[in-house]
């Protein structure tokens, strides 16, 4: 039976990448001077899963590489070897290399093994070197472990009855044992109940295994690692039993391959019992032209040296014994010299798609198999497609929650349905109650569905410890990174888009922010710089802070650069507030780094960072104290799909303000409106002046009244400034689902999207910065407005009056 394994590839890759991340974060945690066994175990488990998976799917490059990794880890875990900082570095490089290999495999490309080979050689070198020092470092857990010679083990293994249900397969463990050395397995079936009482999913068998080879007890224990709690396992050292030599003559019937038996497999099984010599008897081979590729013409002479008894040899031939000539005798019979020695694998007849591939786990085998011709092309396509479809892992509690909600929804629906079948007015209260319940359910359902898209921000943060570590080495700086609020949840889409900007900001903080150690000491600070990443929820936003305790932003050099680049005039420069100065670094092509390093300083990036954040409806601001460090604060909406909105009316049109942008709403009082030169009105809001935007002007629509005294004004925040938007009426506040206008139409200035209201009509969602841009009011800051006399010289107001 052939199974299209490619359908599991995507899952394997995802799990492997997760495993690599786990390894990476554990390696970062690892302190070479005080090794925590649990951390090593986590790394080991991750490596082990990747090895297992890649071997199953035939990604041998990965499997081989991970195997070496695992061997070394195992020695560290067994405390037979210490770990140095260099080892940790090597492991980290190995993680990178594996990630590279896996992503190449995922793309369906041929993996580039050069780095892998190099690293593998490095690991093997360590392993060899380690061998000599082992005994010195080792705290021998078992007296036998020190012996290097052949050792025999007698193992009794009785898995718990639930073993199969938990996904463990004894057969796999037995195979693993067999891979360690020569294994002889006998089954202890005395506890199997009668057929009537037998539960097909329970495991009643036990096994006696004798294992010979240069095997340490730890290796055996590792095989049983997953089942050790629920099983009865006895491992005893044993003197190697006398082995016997068997001589086997085997000539299968010509149809043996057609019936799905493969001699090569049987020989492999025999080889697992002991030392096997095989020679093929080609006498029966016909002329090439008469050769039927699916028939078997060969016979074999086998010599097996093993301590296994005859029954275990018989067992191997169990399936073919009826149709074959088989003689099994003790004592070696030298094979006739005429026969050619052929490696069983190169037997041409064995070619048709290895009939019995190493069986994978039982659930896999239960899947319906596709026929090989179909499986191949679809597998290829699948791998290509898999790259495009991204998936999300969701906690089971979230799903359960969702199912509960749907259950409630169904109940409410049937209740309402019943009400509807024979409705009279007496039952109106019931109907209203039902409807309110429906609303409640819908809202909860909506929230739960949204929560599915939410991921903890640690997904975005996890890469930084590694990055900071690498960068600090490259730059010869000392620093540590602290992550806070890693469990803060964020929409997956937002998370994906914020990753790169964050990388850029952290990199900047490392490169520009943190000073070299000597300078830090000179400034009376700790030698070690500190970068803190912090995330938390605030209102409907997620706030991410990147804090460093470095030199802070240099106001003067930023201004000098800005003047040089003609972003500001020298005269204005002195009057800019700190925030405005810091904001300058987000201009394209702006970099104050004296030397361009390969880390940062090319001035591309900060503008992209800002643009990306704005595109997510977020904002970014910098605060900084010279010599003390700086803090970059990013605010992002929780999700891109749903918005808390304030419905407003202008004339016959309904628009939606994002609720987060509204500061307050108030009645316009004409006496508080002043006209600034050029026709822009400002409103005196307590002790500050805010520019007024008339939505009907911006959108060229007909309002109820053009008289400001009869209108309402919504004060909104735009790029840190307050702006008053004049509307006719405030309507409901509600959550709205954001729909794209661009999908079927195009981007509309001043509109960020559309939504569907309760009555089925479409309402447009306002894009505040867009509206401000249309209105031509930009950066009308407090001091600019209050010093009206100066406004004539203010270029921005000039532009404003020109457009008005």
């Amino acid at each position: 039976m052939s199974i299209d394994l490619s359908q599991f590839h995507q899952v394997f890759f995802e799990e492997s990448f997760e495993g690599l991340e786990e390894m990476e974060s554990c390696l970062m945690e690892l302190d070479p001077s005080a090794v925590d066994g649990e951390v090593i175990n986590s790394i080991f488990r991750a490596a082990h899963s990747i090895k297992g998976g890649s071997a199953t799917f035939g990604f041998d490059v990965v499997a081989d590489f991970t195997h070496v990794l695992e061997t070394l880890l195992d020695e560290i875990r067994a405390e037979t070897r210490g770990i140095s900082q260099d080892d940790v570095d090597l492991f980290l490089r190995a993680v990178d290399c594996l990630r590279e290999l896996l992503s190449q495999l995922q793309q369906g490309e041929q993996p580039d093994t050069e780095v892998a080979q190099e690293l593998k050689a490095a690991f093997e070198k360590i392993l060899r070197e380690g061998g000599d020092t082992t005994t010195a470092v080792a705290t021998e857990p078992e007296p036998d472990a020190g012996e290097t010679g052949t050792q025999s083990w007698k193992i009794y293994f009785r898995p718990g009855t639930d073993t199969l249900r938990t996904g463990n397969e004894p057969a796999r463990m037995l195979r693993e044992l067999a891979a360690l050395g020569q294994a002889q397995v006998t089954v202890a079936a005395e506890e199997v109940p009668g057929l009537g009482a037998l539960e097909p999913e329970s495991c009643y068998l036990g096994w006696h295994i004798s294992l010979t080879g240069s095997i340490e007890k730890a290796q055996i224990e590792e095989v049983f690692e997953w089942v050790v709690d629920e099983s009865e396992i006895r491992i005893e050292a044993q003197a190697a039993p006398a082995s016997a030599t068997w001589s086997i003559a085997y000539r299968p019937g010509t149809d043996v391959l057609r019936t799905g038996n493969e001699p090569a497999r049987m020989f492999r099984e025999l080889a697992a019992l002991g030392d096997l010599t095989v020679s093929a008897d080609t006498d029966g081979l016909p002329q090439f032209s008469q050769l039927d590729p699916e028939s078997s013409y060969l016979g074999w002479q086998l010599t097996l040296t093993t301590e296994a008894d005859k029954s275990s040899i018989d067992e191997i031939f169990e399936w073919v014994i009826d149709e074959s000539d088989l003689t099994i005798e003790t004592g070696a019979e030298p094979v006739s010299a005429a026969s050619t020695t052929v490696a069983p694998e190169s037997e041409p007849a064995a070619a048709p798609a290895a009939p019995a591939p190493v069986p994978t786990s039982t659930p896999t085998a239960a899947k319906p198999a596709k026929s090989p011709p179909q499986a191949k092309p679809s597998g290829g396509d699948g791998a290509k497609k898999a790259v495009e479809t991204s998936s999300i892992r969701v906690g089971i509690d979230k799903i359960d929650n969702l199912i509960n909600m749907v259950g409630e929804l169904v109940i409410t629906q049937s209740m309402l349905g019943q009400l509807g079948t024979d409705f009279d007015l007496d039952r109106l209260p019931n109907l209203l109650e039902g409807l309110s319940q429906l609303e409640h359910n819908t809202r909860e359902l909506q929230e739960s569905v949204m929560r599915i898209r939410m991921l903890p921000i640690s997904f975005a943060f996890s890469r930084f410890p590694r990055m900071v570590r690498d960068l600090s080495r490259r730059l010869n700086k000392k620093m540590e990174i602290e992550l806070k609020g890693e469990q803060t949840e964020l929409d997956k889409t937002v998370m994906e888009k914020i990753g790169d900007p964050l990388v850029h900001l952290v990199r900047n903080a490392v490169d520009h922010g943190i000073e070299p150690p000597e300078k830090r000491l000179a400034a009376g600070k700790q030698e070690e710089g500190k970068i803190t990443l912090n995330a938390y929820h605030q209102g409907g936003n997620v706030v991410i802070e990147i804090i460093d305790d470095g030199r802070g932003l240099d106001r003067d050099s930023i201004l000098a650069k800005a003047v040089e680049k003609e972003l500001v005039t020298e005269r204005d420069a002195g009057q800019l507030s700190d925030e405005q100065v810091y904001d300058l670094i987000f201009h394209p092509g702006f970099s104050t780094a004296k030397e361009v390093s390969d880390v940062s300083g090319r001035g591309v990036g900060m503008d992209v960072v800002k643009r990306n954040i704005l595109a997510l409806n977020g904002s970014v601001e910098i605060t900084s104290t010279a010599g003390q460090g700086s803090k970059i604060t990013i605010r992002l909406p929780l999700t891109l799909a749903i918005l808390d909105g304030q419905l407003v009316r202008v004339g016959s049109h309904t628009y939606i303000f994002p609720l987060v942008s509204i500061i307050e709403s108030l009645q316009c009082d004409s006496s508080l409106v002043n006209q600034v030169a050029g026709g822009c009105d400002v409103f005196q809001l307590r002790n500050e002046y805010v520019p007024i935007i008339r939505l009907f002007d911006v959108f060229s629509i007909e309002p109820d009244s053009r008289n400001l005294g009869e209108s309402l004004m919504v004060v909104v925040e735009c790029d840190g400034e307050k702006v008053g938007v004049v509307i006719d009426d405030l309507m409901a506040q509600q959550q709205v689902v954001i729909k794209s206008l661009e999908q079927n139409y195009q981007k509309v200035e001043g509109i960020s999207g559309a939504t569907i209201l309760g009555d089925g009509t479409v309402a447009l969602i306002l894009d505040i910065p867009g509206i401000v841009k249309i209105a031509g009011v930009r950066h009308l800051t407090d001091n600019q407005v209050t010093s009206l006399a100066r406004s004539h010289s203010n270029s921005e107001l000039m532009a404003l009056s020109a457009s008005a």
Partner: protein, 192 residues
């Protein structure tokens, strides 16, 4: 007993219909035609998603006048184009019989769904490519790229529209403006 009868009639109804369809397919592409200002226009029927009555659309601020706004088509936001204004025809009052044809248009940015407002839906014709005459060259002033061809059906001219091209232009051409320019250009020339 009743059920059997119904089934039988269904079968009888279907047979001629199927035969009819078979004929049509042999003849060539099918076009849905509609009427605007007494002219008959046709669009490839495979583009047509549905035909619905006019309902009020939400206007888009600062949009060209031929974009009537957007409607909610089962959760999708669909823009509505007034084809009369697009073609520079006189605007008429929308009534209960005004029809919106919802079309699926293939553009460079993927497929888009759009609605066009027309006076009335007319007929479905199957037309062979051979019957089609190419659009007359009206010179540089008038863009005729969006016309697939002209065809004569029972003595009447039907203008077949290349709807993908017409609606995929980022700025849907306002032909009224084009014609006005042509006219004013002509007037200027006369004045000189």
């Amino acid at each position: 007993m009743q059920a059997v009868n119904v089934g039988a009639t269904d079968e009888n109804d279907q047979l001629p219909a199927e035969q009819h369809q078979g004929d049509v397919v042999e003849d060539g592409d099918q076009y849905l035609t509609f009427i605007m200002a007494h002219e008959e226009y046709g669009v490839d029927i495979l583009c047509v998603q549905e035909i619905r009555g006019w309902e009020a659309a939400t206007p888009i601020p600062n949009a060209p006048s031929h974009i009537k706004g957007v409607i909610n088509l089962r959760g999708t936001i669909v823009p509505i184009v007034d084809l009369r204004q697009c073609f520079g025809l006189e605007a008429i009052e929308y009534t209960a019989v005004t029809v919106v044809i919802v079309l699926k248009v293939e553009t460079e940015k993927g497929s888009r769904i759009m609605g066009i407002v027309v006076d009335a839906v007319s007929d479905v014709y199957s037309l062979a490519a051979a019957e089609m005459k190419s659009a007359p060259d009206l010179g540089d002033a008038v863009n005729t790229d969006y016309i697939r061809g002209l065809v004569n059906v029972d003595g009447k001219m039907v203008i077949l529209l290349e709807i993908d091209r017409l609606l995929s232009m980022d700025d849907i051409p306002n032909l009224a403006e084009v014609s006005r320019q042509v006219l004013s250009g002509a007037a200027d020339a006369e004045a000189q």
